[in-house]
């Protein structure tokens, strides 16, 4: 299929929260925080989103987007498979792991129809044959590298997509006003830019940083009495 020369449109497409990969159905522990009345208003929602981006997404997702992006640029399938396996081994909460897999596999299914890069198809083949799990950050990094997008734009798009999902879920669940949600999101722009730039030079010691309370709330989600979200 032909490829547009407008990379902005390509990035907008892949990071669109309405992309049918199911991003909206995962809360990654937010639902537990809300049921436990810890996230309950604009301030606590903003704190949740910022901390998720700064401590969880950056070290457990963004770093894999970055490394998968560079591996794809070098056409290194084996590096992508190693990253995918590491991504899997780091995700202790089952629902978070499954969520990342669902998003990753659906993203791949869309893009193998749209792009004919050999690396993408080889990687997808490995996923189909269950030789590799197919995690979302790895798939996202690989596909955006193959588009030819710039790494900071890729990371910004990735974090923006995560932030939109968190804010949209908060608006529904806390609940917050639509304007409150938009205000949180708008005020995050500089922060997302900062996190995206920091991702380029993450200290390897922080790779896969354990976020104990986030992990526990994600694990507790499996046992909540009522659940609207899959994680």
């Amino acid at each position: 299929m032909s490829k547009t020369n407008n990379l902005l449109l390509e990035l907008l497409h892949i990071s669109d929260p309405t992309l049918p990969i199911g991003g909206y159905s995962h809360s990654n522990g937010l639902e537990t925080y809300i049921q436990q009345n810890i996230v309950k208003d604009v301030d606590t929602t903003a704190e949740f989103v910022r901390n998720m981006l700064n401590y969880n997404y950056k070290y457990n997702d963004g770093i894999f987007v970055r490394d998968a992006y560079y591996a794809a640029q070098k056409n290194e399938l084996s590096s992508l498979l190693d990253l995918d396996n590491e991504c899997h081994a780091l995700r202790a909460p089952m629902e978070v792991r499954d969520g990342s897999l669902k998003l990753g596999v659906r993203l791949l299914k869309i893009y193998v129809r749209l792009q004919d890069h050999e690396l993408l198809h080889s990687y997808y083949q490995q996923v189909k044959e269950k030789e590799t799990p197919g995690h979302f950050p790895v798939a996202f990094g690989m596909i955006t590298a193959l588009m030819g997008a710039e790494i900071v734009d890729v990371l910004s798009a990735f974090y923006y997509n995560a932030a939109v999902n968190m804010v949209t879920n908060s608006v529904k669940m806390v609940p917050l006003g639509q304007m409150d949600g938009q205000e949180i999101l708008y005020k995050l722009h500089d922060f997302i830019d900062k996190v995206a730039h920091e991702t380029l030079t993450i200290d390897e010691e922080l790779r896969g940083l354990c976020n104990p309370a986030f992990d526990i709330r994600c694990m507790q989600h499996e046992h909540l009495y009522s659940r609207l979200y899959m994680s």
């Binding site: 606590t44 401590y55 010691e205 922080l206």
Partner: protein
């Protein structure tokens, strides 16, 4: 550099300490009370009160096939002011149908401590691993909560050389705000516990964890399945003693279960 190594073997179906080597400050001592218990219980004694500047401990554990080992520590692991850092490297190899259980006392990094621990555990398809670690915020009663400079414990579990589980417990108060949402929040102790057990379902393990932790106050915890035969427990609390005691209860039951199961197999052979 301090070093110890341990290798198990079977003698008449009972696990024995086949080989050990240690340098100061360590000593390896058998603490199994019932000599007929198939599970070998070893304690690592240390003449040092903890880690000092530039200490580097190397630990090598080989749990040979069909053997069962519980490796214990003697007391809390203190890490003193270590401007140039202190390190520990632990390599564990658990062979086929072998069982390894290890829950060291909590680590207590003092003010100014810089510590890195690298644990690599290699399993076969039929190995059982029971592994826990507890980190204290420091000498809380001395007003030293999170006064250390850096604490990092990287644990990687490999099965047939493929990475199964990776945990990067990293605390650096200058880089990560530990009191914030998602980190330690209002707590000051963290415990992690992993069970890899192809002989029992993770559901059984998680039910055991839930039962043992149910009555504990002032903690939050969660457990989750990480594969068809493995699960992880994470706990945050405000007392190292409480977390150690609670995890010890879980571990004790699993050790007993493993010993009893092996005894049944021995009885059947006879």
């Amino acid at each position: 550099m301090g070093r110890y190594s341990v290798q198990t073997d079977l003698y008449k179906d009972i696990t024995i300490l086949k080989d050990t080597y240690f340098t100061p400050p360590f000593n390896v001592v058998e603490v199994r009370e019932n000599k007929k218990n198939p599970l070998l219980e070893l304690m690592i004694m240390s003449s040092s009160p903890g880690f000092f500047n530039n200490d580097n401990y190397q630990i090598d554990i080989k749990v040979k096939k069909e053997t069962l080992l519980n490796l214990q520590t003697q007391s809390y692991q203190r890490i003193y002011d270590t401007p140039d850092g202190a390190q520990q490297h632990m390599r564990v190899n658990v062979e086929c149908n072998a069982y390894f259980s290890h829950l060291p006392h909590p680590s207590v990094p003092h003010k100014g401590a810089i510590f890195e621990s690298d644990n690599r555990i290699y399993l076969s398809d039929t190995s059982v691993l029971i592994w826990g670690e507890i980190l204290a915020c420091g000498r809380k009663l001395n007003g030293e909560s999170f006064a250390f400079k850096k604490y990092r414990s990287l644990t990687q579990v490999f099965r047939k050389d493929k990475l199964l589980y990776k945990d990067n417990l990293y605390l650096n108060p200058s880089k990560v705000n530990y009191k914030t949402m998602g980190q330690y929040e209002e707590f000051s102790y963290q415990a992690n516990f992993i069970c890899v057990d192809p002989h029992h379902s993770p559901k059984e393990h998680m039910a055991n964890m839930a039962e043992k932790l149910e009555g504990e106050e002032d903690i939050i915890f969660g457990f989750s399945q990480i594969s068809d035969d493995a699960c992880v427990l994470r706990v945050l609390g405000n007392s190292g003693e409480q977390l150690f005691r609670a995890l010890k209860k879980i571990q004790k039951q699993l050790d007993k279960q493993a010993g009893d199961l092996r005894q049944q197999q021995i009885d059947l052979k006879i």
